[in-house]
Amino acid sequence: MYTLSSPTTLKILEAKIVSQGHLYCSNSVKSVQFLPNTDATAARSGRRENLLIYGGSSGGVAAPERKPMSVAHMASSNVDETDDRVSRISSTIRVIPDFPKPGILFQDITTLLLDPKAFKDTIDLFVERYRDKNINVVAGIEARGFIFGPPIALAIGAKFVPMRKPKKLPGEVISEEYSLEYGTDTMEMHVGAVQPGERAVVVDDLIATGGTLNAAIRLLERVGVQVVECACVIELPELKGRDRLGNKPLFVLVSST
Protein backbone atom coordinates (compact mmCIF):
# COMPACT_ATOMS: atom_id res chain seq x y z
CA MET A 1 0.00 0.00 0.00
CA TYR A 2 1.46 3.27 -0.96
CA THR A 3 2.00 5.68 1.91
CA LEU A 4 3.11 9.27 1.81
CA SER A 5 5.57 10.58 4.32
CA SER A 6 3.33 12.12 6.94
CA PRO A 7 3.03 15.85 6.50
CA THR A 8 3.55 18.19 9.38
CA THR A 9 0.40 19.86 10.56
CA LEU A 10 -0.02 22.92 8.41
CA LYS A 11 -2.12 25.96 8.72
CA ILE A 12 -3.47 26.42 5.25
CA LEU A 13 -4.78 29.83 4.42
CA GLU A 14 -5.84 30.96 1.02
CA ALA A 15 -4.51 30.67 -2.50
CA LYS A 16 -1.39 32.63 -3.04
CA ILE A 17 -1.00 35.16 -5.79
CA VAL A 18 2.64 35.97 -5.76
CA SER A 19 3.77 39.14 -7.35
CA GLN A 20 6.93 41.12 -7.14
CA GLY A 21 7.53 42.65 -3.77
CA HIS A 22 4.58 41.27 -1.84
CA LEU A 23 6.50 38.71 0.14
CA TYR A 24 9.30 40.95 1.22
CA CYS A 25 7.63 42.97 3.92
CA SER A 26 10.41 45.49 4.16
CA ASN A 27 9.77 46.59 0.59
CA SER A 28 6.86 48.67 -0.41
CA VAL A 29 4.54 46.93 -2.79
CA LYS A 30 5.68 47.56 -6.30
CA SER A 31 3.26 47.99 -9.12
CA VAL A 32 3.50 45.00 -11.36
CA GLN A 33 2.11 43.66 -14.56
CA PHE A 34 -0.66 41.65 -13.05
CA LEU A 35 -3.83 39.98 -14.12
CA PRO A 36 -6.91 41.81 -12.83
CA ASN A 37 -8.17 40.43 -9.55
CA THR A 38 -11.66 39.18 -10.14
CA ASP A 39 -12.76 39.62 -6.57
CA ALA A 40 -15.35 42.37 -6.50
CA THR A 41 -14.59 43.36 -2.93
CA ALA A 42 -10.99 44.05 -3.74
CA ALA A 43 -11.93 45.98 -6.82
CA ARG A 44 -14.28 48.19 -4.88
CA SER A 45 -11.80 48.84 -2.12
CA GLY A 46 -9.02 49.44 -4.63
CA ARG A 47 -6.77 47.25 -2.55
CA ARG A 48 -4.81 44.47 -4.14
CA GLU A 49 -5.51 41.22 -2.38
CA ASN A 50 -2.53 39.50 -0.93
CA LEU A 51 -3.36 35.92 -0.29
CA LEU A 52 -1.19 33.20 1.05
CA ILE A 53 -0.81 29.53 0.84
CA TYR A 54 1.23 28.00 3.53
CA GLY A 55 1.84 24.58 2.26
CA GLY A 56 4.23 21.81 1.41
CA SER A 57 4.95 18.88 3.58
CA SER A 58 8.20 17.93 5.13
CA GLY A 59 9.37 14.51 5.95
CA GLY A 60 12.37 12.62 6.99
CA VAL A 61 14.54 15.41 8.26
CA ALA A 62 14.00 17.97 10.96
CA ALA A 63 11.97 20.65 9.27
CA PRO A 64 13.49 24.09 9.29
CA GLU A 65 11.43 26.59 11.20
CA ARG A 66 8.64 27.76 8.98
CA LYS A 67 8.25 31.43 8.30
CA PRO A 68 4.67 32.31 7.51
CA MET A 69 4.25 35.28 5.26
CA SER A 70 1.88 38.13 5.78
CA VAL A 71 -1.65 37.60 4.67
CA ALA A 72 -4.70 39.69 4.07
CA HIS A 73 -8.11 38.23 4.47
CA MET A 74 -9.90 37.63 1.22
CA ALA A 75 -13.56 38.48 1.49
CA SER A 76 -14.86 36.11 -1.13
CA SER A 77 -17.50 33.44 -1.11
CA ASN A 78 -15.08 31.15 -2.94
CA VAL A 79 -12.35 31.16 -0.30
CA ASP A 80 -13.41 27.99 1.44
CA GLU A 81 -13.53 26.07 -1.80
CA THR A 82 -10.12 27.29 -2.76
CA ASP A 83 -8.89 26.54 0.74
CA ASP A 84 -9.89 22.91 0.62
CA ARG A 85 -8.51 22.35 -2.81
CA VAL A 86 -5.14 23.84 -2.05
CA SER A 87 -4.74 22.08 1.26
CA ARG A 88 -5.45 18.77 -0.40
CA ILE A 89 -3.01 19.55 -3.20
CA SER A 90 -0.34 20.52 -0.70
CA SER A 91 -0.85 17.36 1.33
CA THR A 92 -0.23 15.15 -1.69
CA ILE A 93 3.22 16.54 -2.43
CA ARG A 94 5.94 14.23 -1.18
CA VAL A 95 9.27 15.55 0.05
CA ILE A 96 12.29 13.38 -0.70
CA PRO A 97 15.38 14.35 1.29
CA ASP A 98 18.83 14.37 -0.26
CA PHE A 99 17.67 14.16 -3.86
CA PRO A 100 19.29 14.76 -6.28
CA LYS A 101 22.11 15.40 -3.83
CA PRO A 102 22.64 15.69 -0.06
CA GLY A 103 20.95 18.63 1.58
CA ILE A 104 18.25 19.08 -1.04
CA LEU A 105 14.62 18.48 -0.04
CA PHE A 106 13.06 17.46 -3.35
CA GLN A 107 9.40 18.36 -3.87
CA ASP A 108 7.92 15.32 -5.60
CA ILE A 109 4.69 15.95 -7.49
CA THR A 110 4.27 12.37 -8.70
CA THR A 111 2.22 11.65 -5.59
CA LEU A 112 -0.07 14.56 -6.46
CA LEU A 113 -0.62 12.93 -9.85
CA LEU A 114 -1.75 9.74 -8.11
CA ASP A 115 -4.70 11.61 -6.60
CA PRO A 116 -7.11 12.33 -9.46
CA LYS A 117 -9.04 14.92 -7.48
CA ALA A 118 -5.90 16.76 -6.42
CA PHE A 119 -4.56 16.71 -9.97
CA LYS A 120 -7.86 17.94 -11.38
CA ASP A 121 -8.04 20.67 -8.73
CA THR A 122 -4.50 21.77 -9.57
CA ILE A 123 -5.40 22.19 -13.22
CA ASP A 124 -8.72 23.84 -12.36
CA LEU A 125 -7.01 26.47 -10.21
CA PHE A 126 -4.80 27.50 -13.11
CA VAL A 127 -7.61 27.29 -15.66
CA GLU A 128 -9.88 29.47 -13.53
CA ARG A 129 -7.15 32.07 -13.40
CA TYR A 130 -6.31 32.14 -17.10
CA ARG A 131 -9.44 31.16 -18.98
CA ASP A 132 -10.75 34.68 -19.63
CA LYS A 133 -7.39 36.35 -20.08
CA ASN A 134 -6.95 35.79 -23.85
CA ILE A 135 -3.97 33.54 -23.40
CA ASN A 136 -2.88 32.15 -26.78
CA VAL A 137 0.09 30.08 -25.67
CA VAL A 138 0.90 27.79 -22.78
CA ALA A 139 4.62 27.04 -22.80
CA GLY A 140 5.63 24.02 -20.74
CA ILE A 141 9.17 23.32 -19.62
CA GLU A 142 10.52 19.82 -20.12
CA ALA A 143 9.71 17.47 -18.59
CA ARG A 144 7.39 18.09 -15.63
CA GLY A 145 5.98 21.20 -17.28
CA PHE A 146 4.68 18.80 -19.96
CA ILE A 147 2.44 17.22 -17.31
CA PHE A 148 0.67 20.41 -16.21
CA GLY A 149 0.89 22.61 -19.31
CA PRO A 150 -1.16 20.64 -21.84
CA PRO A 151 -4.28 20.14 -19.68
CA ILE A 152 -4.26 23.88 -18.95
CA ALA A 153 -3.79 24.72 -22.64
CA LEU A 154 -6.62 22.41 -23.69
CA ALA A 155 -9.01 23.85 -21.12
CA ILE A 156 -8.37 27.50 -21.99
CA GLY A 157 -8.22 27.11 -25.77
CA ALA A 158 -4.51 27.84 -26.09
CA LYS A 159 -1.78 26.12 -28.04
CA PHE A 160 0.79 24.09 -26.14
CA VAL A 161 4.46 24.80 -26.87
CA PRO A 162 7.15 22.53 -25.41
CA MET A 163 10.36 24.17 -24.21
CA ARG A 164 13.06 21.51 -24.39
CA LYS A 165 16.59 20.50 -23.56
CA PRO A 166 19.03 20.70 -26.48
CA LYS A 167 18.66 18.49 -29.55
CA LYS A 168 15.25 17.10 -28.64
CA LEU A 169 13.16 19.26 -30.95
CA PRO A 170 13.49 18.02 -34.52
CA GLY A 171 12.94 21.21 -36.47
CA GLU A 172 14.71 24.53 -36.60
CA VAL A 173 15.06 25.99 -33.11
CA ILE A 174 16.11 29.07 -31.25
CA SER A 175 18.21 28.55 -28.14
CA GLU A 176 18.76 30.34 -24.87
CA GLU A 177 21.62 29.55 -22.55
CA TYR A 178 21.15 29.91 -18.81
CA SER A 179 23.34 29.40 -15.79
CA LEU A 180 23.16 26.54 -13.31
CA GLU A 181 24.82 26.30 -9.93
CA TYR A 182 27.82 24.89 -11.79
CA GLY A 183 27.99 25.58 -15.49
CA THR A 184 25.24 26.32 -17.96
CA ASP A 185 22.39 24.61 -19.76
CA THR A 186 20.41 25.44 -22.87
CA MET A 187 16.70 25.63 -23.57
CA GLU A 188 15.20 25.43 -27.06
CA MET A 189 11.94 26.29 -28.78
CA HIS A 190 10.83 25.58 -32.32
CA VAL A 191 11.03 28.43 -34.78
CA GLY A 192 7.47 29.33 -35.78
CA ALA A 193 5.85 27.77 -32.71
CA VAL A 194 4.67 31.17 -31.57
CA GLN A 195 3.80 34.43 -33.30
CA PRO A 196 4.66 38.01 -32.34
CA GLY A 197 1.93 39.55 -30.24
CA GLU A 198 0.66 36.30 -28.79
CA ARG A 199 0.03 36.22 -25.03
CA ALA A 200 1.72 33.40 -23.14
CA VAL A 201 1.82 31.70 -19.78
CA VAL A 202 4.91 29.65 -18.88
CA VAL A 203 4.25 26.53 -16.80
CA ASP A 204 6.51 24.31 -14.74
CA ASP A 205 5.92 22.12 -11.70
CA LEU A 206 8.22 24.13 -9.45
CA ILE A 207 10.24 27.34 -9.35
CA ALA A 208 13.51 27.20 -7.46
CA THR A 209 16.18 29.65 -8.61
CA GLY A 210 14.07 30.73 -11.57
CA GLY A 211 16.80 29.98 -14.10
CA THR A 212 14.76 27.77 -16.40
CA LEU A 213 11.66 29.96 -16.23
CA ASN A 214 13.75 32.99 -17.01
CA ALA A 215 15.26 31.25 -20.04
CA ALA A 216 11.78 30.39 -21.27
CA ILE A 217 10.63 33.99 -20.83
CA ARG A 218 13.60 35.25 -22.82
CA LEU A 219 13.00 32.75 -25.64
CA LEU A 220 9.39 33.82 -25.98
CA GLU A 221 10.11 37.53 -25.72
CA ARG A 222 12.87 37.31 -28.33
CA VAL A 223 10.22 36.41 -30.91
CA GLY A 224 7.77 39.07 -29.80
CA VAL A 225 5.50 37.11 -27.49
CA GLN A 226 4.06 38.83 -24.44
CA VAL A 227 4.68 36.64 -21.39
CA VAL A 228 1.74 37.45 -19.15
CA GLU A 229 2.68 35.29 -16.17
CA CYS A 230 4.61 32.26 -14.96
CA ALA A 231 2.63 29.53 -13.24
CA CYS A 232 4.01 26.82 -10.99
CA VAL A 233 2.50 24.37 -8.56
CA ILE A 234 5.29 24.92 -6.01
CA GLU A 235 7.64 27.75 -5.10
CA LEU A 236 10.78 27.54 -2.99
CA PRO A 237 10.88 31.18 -1.88
CA GLU A 238 14.24 31.01 -0.15
CA LEU A 239 15.89 30.49 -3.53
CA LYS A 240 14.52 33.86 -4.65
CA GLY A 241 13.36 32.64 -8.03
CA ARG A 242 10.89 35.48 -8.21
CA ASP A 243 13.72 38.00 -8.32
CA ARG A 244 15.22 36.22 -11.30
CA LEU A 245 11.97 36.64 -13.21
CA GLY A 246 12.43 40.39 -13.19
CA ASN A 247 9.12 42.10 -13.67
CA LYS A 248 7.22 38.98 -14.65
CA PRO A 249 4.42 37.99 -12.30
CA LEU A 250 4.47 34.53 -10.76
CA PHE A 251 1.44 32.52 -9.65
CA VAL A 252 1.93 29.49 -7.42
CA LEU A 253 -0.36 27.24 -5.45
CA VAL A 254 2.01 26.05 -2.74
CA SER A 255 4.98 27.74 -1.13
CA SER A 256 7.49 25.55 0.67
CA THR A 257 10.13 26.84 3.05
Binding site: F106, T110, E142, F146, P150, K159, F160, V161, G171
Partner: protein, 192 residues
Amino acid sequence: MMLAAENGLRGDPRLKGISEAIRVVPNFPKPGIMFQDITALVSNHKVFKDTVDLFVDRYRDMGISVVAGVEARGFIFAPSIALGIGAKFIPLRKPGKLPGEVISEAYELEYGNDCLEMHVGAVEQGDRALVIDDLVATGGTLSAAISLLERVGAEVIECACVIGLPEVEGRRRLDGKPLYILVGPRQYNSII
Protein backbone atom coordinates in the same frame (compact mmCIF):
# COMPACT_ATOMS: atom_id res chain seq x y z
CA MET B 1 -2.07 -3.24 -34.23
CA MET B 2 -5.45 -1.57 -34.33
CA LEU B 3 -5.67 1.50 -36.46
CA ALA B 4 -8.48 3.72 -35.25
CA ALA B 5 -9.88 3.96 -38.76
CA GLU B 6 -10.34 0.21 -38.81
CA ASN B 7 -11.75 0.10 -35.33
CA GLY B 8 -15.01 1.98 -35.66
CA LEU B 9 -13.63 5.37 -36.54
CA ARG B 10 -13.50 4.98 -40.31
CA GLY B 11 -14.28 8.31 -41.89
CA ASP B 12 -14.04 10.19 -38.61
CA PRO B 13 -13.01 13.65 -39.79
CA ARG B 14 -10.95 14.18 -36.67
CA LEU B 15 -8.43 11.58 -37.82
CA LYS B 16 -7.73 13.43 -41.04
CA GLY B 17 -7.01 16.63 -39.15
CA ILE B 18 -4.75 14.80 -36.75
CA SER B 19 -2.77 13.18 -39.54
CA GLU B 20 -2.36 16.45 -41.39
CA ALA B 21 -1.17 18.20 -38.24
CA ILE B 22 1.87 15.94 -37.95
CA ARG B 23 5.05 17.46 -39.33
CA VAL B 24 7.64 15.21 -40.92
CA VAL B 25 11.26 16.20 -40.35
CA PRO B 26 13.64 14.27 -42.61
CA ASN B 27 16.96 12.97 -41.35
CA PHE B 28 16.28 13.54 -37.67
CA PRO B 29 17.80 12.42 -35.36
CA LYS B 30 20.04 10.83 -37.99
CA PRO B 31 20.13 10.34 -41.77
CA GLY B 32 17.37 8.16 -43.16
CA ILE B 33 14.90 8.69 -40.33
CA MET B 34 11.68 10.56 -41.24
CA PHE B 35 10.80 11.98 -37.82
CA GLN B 36 7.10 12.29 -37.00
CA ASP B 37 6.89 15.59 -35.13
CA ILE B 38 3.83 16.10 -32.93
CA THR B 39 4.69 19.62 -31.78
CA ALA B 40 2.67 21.09 -34.62
CA LEU B 41 -0.25 18.90 -33.55
CA VAL B 42 -0.26 20.17 -29.97
CA SER B 43 0.13 23.69 -31.25
CA ASN B 44 -3.27 23.35 -32.93
CA HIS B 45 -5.83 23.48 -30.15
CA LYS B 46 -8.67 21.83 -32.03
CA VAL B 47 -6.54 18.95 -33.29
CA PHE B 48 -4.91 18.44 -29.89
CA LYS B 49 -8.32 18.37 -28.24
CA ASP B 50 -9.61 15.91 -30.83
CA THR B 51 -6.63 13.64 -30.16
CA VAL B 52 -7.28 13.56 -26.43
CA ASP B 53 -11.03 13.21 -26.95
CA LEU B 54 -10.56 10.15 -29.16
CA PHE B 55 -8.60 8.39 -26.43
CA VAL B 56 -10.91 9.52 -23.63
CA ASP B 57 -13.98 8.38 -25.56
CA ARG B 58 -12.42 4.96 -26.03
CA TYR B 59 -11.29 4.40 -22.45
CA ARG B 60 -13.77 6.23 -20.21
CA ASP B 61 -16.00 3.21 -19.62
CA MET B 62 -13.30 0.57 -19.39
CA GLY B 63 -12.61 0.89 -15.66
CA ILE B 64 -9.09 2.14 -16.18
CA SER B 65 -7.45 3.17 -12.90
CA VAL B 66 -3.94 4.04 -14.16
CA VAL B 67 -2.64 5.90 -17.20
CA ALA B 68 1.12 5.53 -17.56
CA GLY B 69 2.92 7.99 -19.83
CA VAL B 70 6.37 7.47 -21.27
CA GLU B 71 8.84 10.34 -20.90
CA ALA B 72 8.83 12.87 -22.42
CA ARG B 73 6.35 13.13 -25.29
CA GLY B 74 4.03 10.65 -23.61
CA PHE B 75 3.74 13.26 -20.84
CA ILE B 76 2.13 15.63 -23.33
CA PHE B 77 -0.83 13.30 -23.96
CA ALA B 78 -1.22 10.93 -21.02
CA PRO B 79 -2.12 13.34 -18.19
CA SER B 80 -5.04 14.82 -20.14
CA ILE B 81 -6.32 11.32 -20.83
CA ALA B 82 -5.96 10.43 -17.14
CA LEU B 83 -7.87 13.56 -16.14
CA GLY B 84 -10.55 12.82 -18.71
CA ILE B 85 -11.24 9.32 -17.38
CA GLY B 86 -10.56 9.95 -13.67
CA ALA B 87 -7.47 7.74 -13.47
CA LYS B 88 -4.10 8.14 -11.76
CA PHE B 89 -1.27 9.41 -13.94
CA ILE B 90 2.09 7.69 -13.60
CA PRO B 91 5.22 8.99 -15.30
CA LEU B 92 7.61 6.37 -16.65
CA ARG B 93 11.02 7.97 -16.77
CA LYS B 94 14.62 7.68 -17.87
CA PRO B 95 17.02 6.59 -15.13
CA GLY B 96 17.82 8.95 -12.30
CA LYS B 97 14.87 11.29 -12.77
CA LEU B 98 12.33 9.89 -10.31
CA PRO B 99 13.33 10.91 -6.78
CA GLY B 100 11.87 8.08 -4.76
CA GLU B 101 12.45 4.37 -4.71
CA VAL B 102 12.03 2.93 -8.22
CA ILE B 103 11.89 -0.29 -10.13
CA SER B 104 13.70 -0.42 -13.46
CA GLU B 105 13.29 -2.29 -16.73
CA ALA B 106 16.00 -2.38 -19.37
CA TYR B 107 15.16 -2.48 -23.04
CA GLU B 108 17.06 -2.65 -26.29
CA LEU B 109 17.78 0.20 -28.63
CA GLU B 110 19.12 -0.15 -32.12
CA TYR B 111 22.57 0.22 -30.60
CA GLY B 112 22.83 -0.60 -26.92
CA ASN B 113 20.29 -0.49 -24.12
CA ASP B 114 18.19 2.00 -22.24
CA CYS B 115 16.18 1.82 -19.08
CA LEU B 116 12.70 2.85 -17.94
CA GLU B 117 11.82 3.50 -14.29
CA MET B 118 8.63 3.72 -12.22
CA HIS B 119 8.11 4.71 -8.60
CA VAL B 120 7.57 1.89 -6.14
CA GLY B 121 4.09 2.12 -4.69
CA ALA B 122 2.58 4.18 -7.49
CA VAL B 123 0.63 1.23 -8.84
CA GLU B 124 -1.34 -1.24 -6.78
CA GLN B 125 -2.13 -4.87 -7.36
CA GLY B 126 -5.19 -5.09 -9.57
CA ASP B 127 -4.89 -1.63 -11.11
CA ARG B 128 -6.10 -1.60 -14.72
CA ALA B 129 -3.58 0.34 -16.78
CA LEU B 130 -3.06 2.05 -20.10
CA VAL B 131 0.35 2.91 -21.51
CA ILE B 132 0.52 6.06 -23.63
CA ASP B 133 3.25 7.38 -25.90
CA ASP B 134 3.22 9.72 -28.88
CA LEU B 135 4.57 7.12 -31.30
CA VAL B 136 5.39 3.42 -31.44
CA ALA B 137 8.17 2.18 -33.70
CA THR B 138 9.70 -1.12 -32.64
CA GLY B 139 7.63 -1.36 -29.47
CA GLY B 140 10.68 -1.75 -27.24
CA THR B 141 9.77 1.13 -24.94
CA LEU B 142 6.14 0.08 -24.65
CA SER B 143 7.24 -3.47 -23.91
CA ALA B 144 9.42 -2.23 -21.05
CA ALA B 145 6.49 -0.18 -19.75
CA ILE B 146 4.21 -3.21 -19.82
CA SER B 147 6.81 -5.19 -17.88
CA LEU B 148 7.12 -2.54 -15.19
CA LEU B 149 3.38 -2.41 -14.64
CA GLU B 150 2.91 -6.16 -14.65
CA ARG B 151 5.77 -6.68 -12.23
CA VAL B 152 3.82 -4.78 -9.58
CA GLY B 153 0.57 -6.56 -10.27
CA ALA B 154 -1.23 -4.19 -12.59
CA GLU B 155 -3.15 -5.45 -15.58
CA VAL B 156 -2.21 -3.64 -18.77
CA ILE B 157 -5.43 -3.32 -20.73
CA GLU B 158 -4.03 -1.58 -23.80
CA CYS B 159 -1.21 0.53 -25.18
CA ALA B 160 -2.19 3.60 -27.15
CA CYS B 161 -0.20 5.94 -29.35
CA VAL B 162 -1.05 8.78 -31.68
CA ILE B 163 1.20 7.39 -34.43
CA GLY B 164 2.22 3.82 -35.28
CA LEU B 165 5.04 3.00 -37.67
CA PRO B 166 4.70 0.02 -39.98
CA GLU B 167 7.59 -1.80 -38.43
CA VAL B 168 5.58 -2.54 -35.29
CA GLU B 169 5.29 -6.27 -35.27
CA GLY B 170 2.14 -6.27 -33.21
CA ARG B 171 1.25 -8.67 -30.51
CA ARG B 172 4.48 -10.60 -30.19
CA ARG B 173 6.52 -7.54 -29.52
CA LEU B 174 3.99 -6.12 -27.11
CA ASP B 175 3.57 -9.17 -24.96
CA GLY B 176 0.11 -9.91 -26.22
CA LYS B 177 -1.29 -6.53 -25.26
CA PRO B 178 -3.54 -4.73 -27.72
CA LEU B 179 -2.08 -1.67 -29.38
CA TYR B 180 -4.38 1.15 -30.42
CA ILE B 181 -3.11 3.74 -32.90
CA LEU B 182 -4.84 6.82 -34.25
CA VAL B 183 -2.87 7.30 -37.46
CA GLY B 184 -0.03 5.88 -39.51
CA PRO B 185 3.09 7.88 -40.34
CA ARG B 186 2.74 11.03 -42.38
CA GLN B 187 4.58 10.91 -45.66
CA TYR B 188 7.16 13.54 -46.34
CA ASN B 189 6.37 15.79 -49.27
CA SER B 190 9.43 17.78 -50.21
CA ILE B 191 7.40 20.01 -52.46
CA ILE B 192 5.67 21.69 -49.50
